[in-house]
């Protein structure tokens, strides 16, 4: 705005208009700046979720060609009565908590190991990150080959160690565990990364005083490092848990839920119900329950984190 004109009494109409417009923008700047994000969330998240909820209250079976009809909670009732649903729920939780637990132990251990001055530290870190950037479907294909019972690398390695060949993905007993192994391979690095970030910002004072008090390295690790870094690790765990619960691509590209139903998680079952059996309402109900499960698990971990934060004094 040209200040010269401003000095001489009332500004002309055009300038006045601009000023008023600027005022309006300034007053509503918060709304205006958040509007695009808000619209995006409504269109891409709220609407599909709302539509899924509505769909879950209707019986819509594409194979009969009949119009959808309201059954309200009928779909939920049939899911609760279905052993296949509960088995899938159990598998989803076992897969997620199992994989993330291993990832946490390994990730924190690697982070502690890397958290010091050493040669080739950056190279090591980069190598650890490689699995994370790979496309899940490609990862699935590669592991399918690794797990191949006759010519696969996994059994070849076991052979070198004089261990009997394992059926990996081809047996109901071992398929889910094999998939957890893939998840651990791919996602341990993110826990490592988050932990490293947490370690980097730890205060020095507690260490100094501990050393003066004569604490050994094990004591320092148990009493200082781990408690202090725990809040950060929990953030990593939360991110990983949500992600692990949602795992779909790795499973679909390797076993499609098989052998039998032994790797059928909620996500896979939802797909089967919706797009193989064409029970749209039932599939939608399952997805709603799935979203609730993920939310419940997240809240649980958040509560745990708050608890830990309070103890650490963050």
């Amino acid at each position: 705005m040209k200040t010269g004109r401003m000095r001489g009494g009332t500004p002309p109409a055009a300038v006045l208009e601009t000023m008023q417009a600027n005022d309006w923008i300034e007053k509503h700047v918060r709304t205006l700046f958040t509007l695009p994000a808000l619209v995006f969330v409504v269109v891409m998240v709220a609407f599909p979720l709302g539509y899924t909820v509505v769909l879950s209250l209707r019986d819509w079976n594409l194979t009969t060609g009949s119009a959808p009809r309201w059954v309200w909670l009928g779909n939920y009732a049939s899911l609760f009565a279905d052993a296949r649903f509960w088995a899938a729920m159990g598998r989803t939780l076992a897969f997620s908590f199992g994989a993330v637990a291993i990832e946490t132990v390994l990730g924190v251990a690697v982070a502690l190991f890397l958290n010091r001055e050493m040669r080739g530290k950056n190279l090591t870190k980069t190598l650890f990150l490689l699995p994370m950037v790979a496309t899940p479907v490609a990862v699935g294909m590669v592991w399918l080959l690794i797990f191949e019972p006759t010519i696969g690398l996994a059994n070849h390695m076991l052979g070198l160690l004089h261990v009997d060949p394992q059926p990996w993905l081809t047996s109901r007993k071992t398929a889910l565990v094999s998939l957890m192994l893939v998840d651990v391979w791919q996602w341990t690095p993110i826990i490592m990364l988050v932990t490293l970030a947490g370690l980097a910002i730890l205060p020095r004072d507690p260490y100094d005083s501990a050393r003066i008090d004569g604490a050994g390295p094990v004591q320092i690790l148990r009493r200082i490092t781990l408690p202090l870094v725990m809040p950060t690790v929990l953030v990593g765990i939360l991110i990983r848990l949500i992600d692990a619960l949602k795992t779909y691509d790795i499973i679909y590209s390797t076993t499609q839920g098989g052998p039998g139903e032994s790797t059928e998680t909620l996500n896979i079952l939802g797909y089967v119900l919706g797009f193989s059996y064409f029970r749209m309402g039932l599939g939608a109900a399952l997805i709603v329950l799935f979203v609730l499960t993920v939310t419940a698990v997240s809240l649980l971990v958040l509560a745990l984190k708050n608890n830990v934060d309070r103890r650490v004094g963050w």
């Binding site: 594409l62 047996s171 098989g258 193989s276 059996y277």
Partner: protein
């Protein structure tokens, strides 16, 4: 920008424009004989030797009609799921779809997903829709609407290694008992050679299991009655799973036909029962190291005789929400015309046209033994290879459970009883 530079830009822009102007001129000039020139039809097809053959014929089609063709290839199950999802969303750019008559005719018909092709083919003497085997057209008709035109027929046959049987001094098995005995003699897993390979993967195995079931005198269902726990069915389940558990490769539960055919083609398996339609995957020199050593035989007889399936396994139709149905129909007719079916059959894809089968030229390049086996299978065959219900995928999932239990060496009979109950519930649910 300097004046010289600007000129270079103008010249560049002009050279870019010229071809597009020329293309426009061509299109207008050819408008009368090629009314749909310039449009692109999108096809969703399975990974299959037939698709390979069609891809080779697309340039000629585009040349003649000016219609461009995009082909998306997927494994069969994801393909039909994708098609169903897109139809469900009323996608307007799904122009040509692959239809598996025994799986999808009812589904597509009930939902009005596939366009009726009668208006496009009736009265077209050159196309001659009556030339297709009657049963194949029937399997694609829903409420008087023709939802697809047949592309492939399949018969279950026995592939075997001539050299291996010869070396062991064994005859080609004519019965299922003989096949089990032969398998026991040639099985050599220590050297990476497996006597038998078949499909083992969940519901994918069910169609190939059907010939075993029928040859034992069993059936999936008869009308509203599920029949998978009859003594015949249980015997078939036991035979199929014993055969592969004892004499098959490890990991059989994850085998679909590409894995099984590959093992056969790499010379690591002795016998294989699957559709004749994939014989190129077993013998073609670019895919097989033992192509010249593969023999073909009629499916071995069980207690009820030799009952291989003989089905119309594939067809192509036009999406009902497509904005360019005429162009799509033109493509469908082209690829199922007498000339095209002839060309495809010469290349090894058994079609459904009577006139083509009547012409010895069509199978001249095929192994002679295979032609005899196919002709014989045509006489013996059963017209379905999967349960005849609406929810075919779900039914196949249920029916495949005892197969898995059998592979694990579990109690097949108990599993069949359980599957029977689930299958009956499914059928009863469809009646409502």
């Amino acid at each position: 920008m300097r004046a010289g530079n600007r000129w270079i830009l103008v010249v560049l822009a002009a050279t870019l424009l010229v071809p597009s102007l020329m293309a426009k001129g061509q299109k207008e000039a050819g408008d009368k004989s090629r009314p749909y020139a310039g449009t692109t039809v999108r096809c969703v097809f399975p990974v299959h030797p037939w698709t390979d053959g069609v891809k080779k014929m697309v340039p000629a089609f585009t040349e003649a009609t000016g219609i461009k063709v995009e082909i998306e290839e997927l494994a069969t199950d994801p393909m039909s799921n994708k098609i169903a999802v897109e139809f469900n969303a009323k996608s307007t750019n799904l122009d040509v779809v692959y239809v598996r008559p025994l799986n999808e005719t009812k589904l597509f018909g009930l939902n009005g997903w596939a366009a009726d092709l009668h208006p496009y083919v009736d009265g077209d003497a050159a196309f001659d829709v009556k030339d297709f085997a009657d049963a194949t057209i029937q399997s694609l008709t829903y409420n008087g609407k023709l939802l697809g035109l047949p592309t492939t027929t399949e018969h279950q046959i026995l592939y075997y290694r001539k050299d291996v049987l010869e070396k062991a001094g064994l005859q080609v098995p004519k019965t299922l008992d003989e096949m089990m005995a032969v398998a026991a003699k040639i099985h050599d897993p220590a050297n990476g050679f497996y006597a038998m390979v078949n499909r083992g993967k969940k519901n994918i195995a069910v169609t190939q299991f059907s010939s075993y079931l029928h040859s034992f005198g069993g059936e999936f269902n008869e009308g509203d009655k599920a029949l998978i726990d009859t003594p015949e069915a249980i015997k078939a389940y036991k035979y199929y799973t014993d055969l592969l558990r004892k004499y098959g490769p490890p990991g059989i539960v994850n085998f679909s036909w590409p894995e099984a055919a590959a093992l056969m083609a790499q010379g690591k398996a002795g016998m294989f029962t699957d559709a004749d339609a994939i014989y190129l995957n077993v013998v073609a020199p670019d895919k097989s190291t033992v192509g010249d050593k593969i023999g073909f035989a009629v499916f071995p007889a069980g207690p009820a005789g030799s009952k291989p399936f003989n089905v119309c396994s594939g067809a192509i139709g036009v999406g009902n929400f497509s904005k360019q149905k005429e162009a799509a129909a033109q493509f469908v007719k082209w690829m199922t015309s007498k000339a095209a079916v002839m060309e495809l059959q010469v290349a090894g894809n058994s079609g459904a046209r009577k006139s083509v089968w009547a012409n010895p030229e069509s199978t001249k390049s095929w192994p002679k033994e295979l032609v005899e086996v196919v002709n014989k299978s045509n006489e013996l065959g059963v017209g379905w290879d999967r349960p005849r219900v609406i929810n075919v995928t779900q039914a196949r999932d249920i029916i495949s459970e005892p197969i898995l239990v059998g592979f694990e060496g579990g109690d097949v009979e108990a599993s069949a009883k359980k599957a029977q109950a689930a299958f009956q519930t499914l059928i009863d649910g469809e009646k409502k």
